[in-house]
């Protein structure tokens, strides 16, 4: 009994000082935990991010000292057709990549969301392309797409397409080839996200719909799709952001060619910034890329909010 009463009588006197001391101690402890990561994060992520913003308003190349030039980089960028070609290619890539990956990922998740013998094997097999090394993926698909005797064109010929496309060697078909490869690679990842979403839908919803006489199709549109809305939102945001960031797949598969037919924004940043040492100008392109990604995210967030209301 006495041990319980002592703190309550002593506590008030020490309370505020003890609290402040405790808070200071906590701050110290908290920072020691965070510090090892934070130092690296500050130096190699946070500062470069902030520097990228500042650099986009400066003229700075590997041969000259940095100089404040206001919006000159942006004027130059909007006047250059390399920028518009890269922007167009990036948007086309996103328009192809986002809906196709999403639809296939959802379809696969619906097929795999059941208790069947060996279902785990199917899930793992479909997920595997996502973690396969990108170079191997690009190399294999480049050969599959090879215009003369490649397996894909052989298949197209046998099903009656007389003049199959030239894929990565044709400036019209190189981007579709990249899109097909990236959809194949990414769908397993989004399938996992959809699978988690599907498993969170209460079975009662389906039972109720069935009692009401809803067909499988109606259940899909009126139960599955609305219940998956949070997942879909997340998937769309992630897919769009990753589409605008597409970089390594293009570098390895087509390196932007033939001509400039598959050059994307990230690649332009690399070429101008690291390739040619135009630090300021490339940062201006980075800022545009960031603003696009940000706008898309915020826009989808707003749409999601309005739907929920």
């Amino acid at each position: 009994m006495s041990t319980e009463t002592i703190p309550s009588t002593v506590a008030p006197a020490v309370h505020s000082r003890g609290n402040r001391k405790q808070a200071r101690r906590n701050t110290l402890i908290g920072w020691t935990f965070i510090l090892p990561n934070f130092l690296g994060f500050l130096a190699f992520t946070l500062i470069p991010v902030l520097a990228a913003f500042a650099l986009s308003f400066m003229e700075w190349t590997s041969f000259t000292a940095p100089k404040w030039v206001g919006l000159a980089n942006f004027q130059r960028m909007f006047a250059s057709d390399s920028f518009w070609i890269a922007l167009r290619n990036t948007v086309v890539y996103a328009i192809g990549h986002v809906p196709l990956t999403m639809a296939l990922a959802l379809l696969l998740a619906m097929l795999l969301n059941r208790k069947l013998k060996g279902i785990g094997f199917f899930r793992v097999a479909i997920f595997f392309p996502y973690i396969t090394s990108l170079v191997a993926v690009a190399v294999v698909w480049n050969m599959l797409f090879s215009p003369d005797n490649g397996p894909i064109n052989q298949f197209l010929t046998t099903i009656g397409i007389a003049n199959p496309p030239g894929w990565t060697s044709s400036s019209d078909w190189a981007l579709p080839a990249v899109i097909i490869t990236s959809v194949w690679r990414d769908m397993g990842y989004y399938m996992v996200l959809y699978l988690a979403g599907l498993q969170a839908i209460p079975a009662e919803l389906y039972e109720a719909a069935e009692v009401d006489g809803a067909s499988a199709w109606q259940r899909f549109w009126n139960v599955t799709i609305p219940s998956l809305r949070p997942t879909t939102f997340f998937v769309v945001v992630m897919l769009t952001v990753s589409s605008f960031k597409v970089f390594d797949l293009i570098v390895v598969m087509t390196n932007g060619g033939p001509g400039r037919s598959t050059t994307v924004l990230s690649q332009l940043i690399y070429q101008e910034g690291i390739g040619e040492g135009k630090f300021g100008y490339s940062s201006a392109i980075s800022l545009v890329l960031f603003l696009i990604v940000l706008t898309v995210t915020v826009l989808q967030f707003k749409i999601q909010q309005r739907r929920e209301r």
Binding site: F41, T45, V139
Partner: protein, 311 residues
């Protein structure tokens, strides 16, 4: 007749004696007893099973083709019609590649980078995550917001300032540049914090009352509890580093430092007609990932589900 036979069988089963029921007959009986709904489910299951087998086989074609081509002569790779199984297995591709390109060196470099970066990322990530989730102090949430904020910025948007920085530090063309850039990622902190938030604070409280310091709680209470999350983060980081192309591409210029990805890409550039050998190299670059994935697939999927769904 049937009724009587069924009764008899039911009795024998009840008593636990008699002959075991004929399994074929048993099947037929359950078939008849099964409601039409259940039967319908069985047929849909079969249809889905068939669909899955076809679909997965189609999706695996690139892998099948890769392995099959790696066991062929160069002129056998792009033939009409396609040979799915090589007429003659050219196993020598797998012994020749080690002398054609310094494959062993590439593998060692990749392994070195992946191990160091993974260890640092897991250690610093889980420490920081503890600070962000279990210790309360002013400014904590603003700081965490800065972490989250940078995850949203595409890496390509700040690769040029990073490069300038590394150039000034004289670290380009060294492993240190990549280690410094990749070992302190915000993603690891985020993933671990998401997991630590699910561990009840009462556990830490109890440990505090027992006289454990915060570091003790982290090491003895939280770490053992977060093994699945640690495994997820370690595996994802390892695989990402192993597969990374752009980082090494930007920073590692001398052949001596190249990773498997760079080595493979350069081999393709130099000898683009050596189809079979290129496929052999691809297979070798994928095997370590396949092994790790098969061992830890559970953690991959969990890692994606936690970092994804709560984001």
């Amino acid at each position: 007749m049937t009724n009587m036979a069924e009764d008899l069988k039911a009795e024998s089963r009840l008593l636990g004696t008699g002959l075991p029921p004929n399994s074929a007959e048993e099947d037929r009986r359950t078939e008849r007893r099964r409601s039409p709904r259940e039967q319908k489910k069985r047929t849909t299951d079969l249809v889905i099973y068939a669909a899955l087998v076809v679909l997965v086989a189609a999706l695996m074609v690139p892998f099948i083709w890769m392995v099959s081509s790696s066991l062929k002569e160069n002129n056998q790779v792009l033939t009409v019609p396609i040979q799915w199984i090589p007429t003659e297995f050219v196993w020598s591709n797998y012994t020749d590649i080690w002398t054609r390109i310094p494959m062993m060196g590439y593998l060692q470099n990749s392994l070195y980078l992946a191990v160091i970066i993974t260890c640092l990322q897991v250690l610093t990530g889980s420490l920081a995550a503890y600070g962000f989730s279990k210790v309360r102090f002013p400014g904590r949430d603003v700081l965490f917001l800065a972490y989250i904020g940078t995850i949203a910025v595409p890496w390509q948007a700040y690769m040029v300032p990073q490069y300038i920085m590394m150039q000034n530090l004289g670290l380009t063309n060294s492993f240190n540049a990549l280690i410094l850039l990749q070992a302190f990622g915000a993603f690891g902190v985020f993933l671990m914090r998401q997991y630590y938030m699910t561990i009840p604070d009462e556990l830490c409280e109890a440990a505090r009352i027992d006289g454990l310091s915060e570091y003790g709680i982290w090491a003895r209470v939280i770490l053992p509890l977060s093994k699945p999350a640690l495994a997820s983060l370690a595996l994802l980081t390892f695989v990402n580093t192993w597969n990374d192309y752009m980082g090494p591409f930007i920073y590692l210029t001398s052949n001596r430092l190249w990773t498997v990805q760079l080595g493979l890409r350069s081999f393709v550039g130099q000898f683009d007609a050596e189809y079979a050998m290129i496929m052999t190299g691809s297979v070798i670059s994928v095997i370590p990932i396949l092994a790790i994935f098969l061992i830890g697939q559970r953690y991959f999927i969990q890692g994606i589900a936690t970092s994804g769904m709560k984001g």
